[in-house]
């Protein structure tokens, strides 16, 4: 095998490395390989075994490094998801939740409303206000904001559970928003993920 053919094969092998690393060191590695070709028998099995061992040993680690650094730098999608979640919480849990509870309150007050129903509606409004607070806290992309959101979501969930126990005929919408939204957001906030400049959630 000619050294030129060996260099062509090595250029193909270089594709195993991350593109950024190839752009930075590919030329130098090619020159170094050329040196090796001059000093070794490029047709021998031992030479190619050493070359393949070198690529197999170094390329996966460099790929993993590149993948990790990309993962830690790229937090933009996470921030977009958190912003959307915050807006959804504000809209559904906060504004619509409070309006829904207020409408139920007015409708119930025109009939004779029981004490437990009254407390249940009050708890519903309180839970919606807490969801509103969680939404506002989530709009602040800081560790403190997320901690405040977690507390507000837990408190909201407890209030909704208490309201549901007091008044089992709670509307489907109230139950979906009251249980579904805090649980979904708490899962998102506690989901393990790679470290980011904002710190782990």
């Amino acid at each position: 095998m000619s050294p030129a053919a060996a260099e062509r094969i090595y250029r193909l092998l270089l594709r195993a490395y991350p593109p950024d690393f190839r752009a930075e060191y590919g030329r130098e590695m090619g020159l170094l390989f050329r040196d090796q070709c001059r000093e070794s028998d490029v047709g021998s099995l031992g030479f190619w075994a050493r070359v393949l061992w070198d690529v197999a040993r170094s390329a996966p680690a460099l790929r993993a490094d590149a993948w990790r650094s990309r993962g830690s730098e790229n937090t933009a999608p996470l921030e977009v998801i958190m912003k959307l979640a915050a807006m959804l919480t504000l809209l559904l849990g906060g504004v619509i939740g409070i309006l829904n509870a207020a409408v139920e309150w007015v409708a119930a007050s025109q009939q004779s409303i029981s004490g437990t129903h009254e407390v249940s509606l009050g708890l519903g409004i309180f839970a919606s206000a807490l969801l509103l607070t969680a939404g506002v806290a989530l709009l602040r992309p800081t560790q403190g904001g997320r901690q405040a959101a977690r507390l507000a979501l837990f408190a909201s969930l407890v209030s909704v559970v208490a309201a549901r126990l007091l008044f089992p005929w709670m509307s489907i919408f109230s139950q979906l928003v009251g249980f579904g939204l805090p649980v979904a957001l708490l899962i998102v906030l506690y989901w393990p993920r790679k470290s980011s400049p904002l710190g782990a959630a």
């Binding site: 690393f21 020159l31 170094l32 040196d35 070198d54 690529v55 460099l62």
Partner: protein, 86 residues
């Protein structure tokens, strides 16, 4: 690469991937820095990049050498090395 092979008496053979992977990490850690690019007349005048130890790199190398030295002295005291096998 030839220097590493010679110093390790043939036990360590660095390939281009291992060498430049290590250099990348050393550069990122601030232990070495690029010392410019110049042609090497012995190798067809191709331009090569050169690297040199930084002050931090020298301190780290000295600390590591000191650690290894202490380890070897401890091994000698325990007669693990430097004695002929019976």
């Amino acid at each position: 690469m030839k220097g590493v092979t010679a110093r390790s008496e043939g036990t360590v053979r660095l390939g281009p991937g291992t060498l430049y992977g290590a250099l990348k990490r050393l550069l990122e850690a601030g232990l070495v820095k690029e010392g410019g690019e110049r042609a090497d007349p012995e190798r067809g005048d191709e331009r090569r990049r050169y690297y040199r130890l930084t002050q931090l790199g020298l301190s780290v190398a000295r600390a590591e050498a000191g650690r290894l030295d202490a380890l070897v002295r401890a091994a000698r005291r325990k007669k693990l090395i430097g004695v002929r096998p019976a």
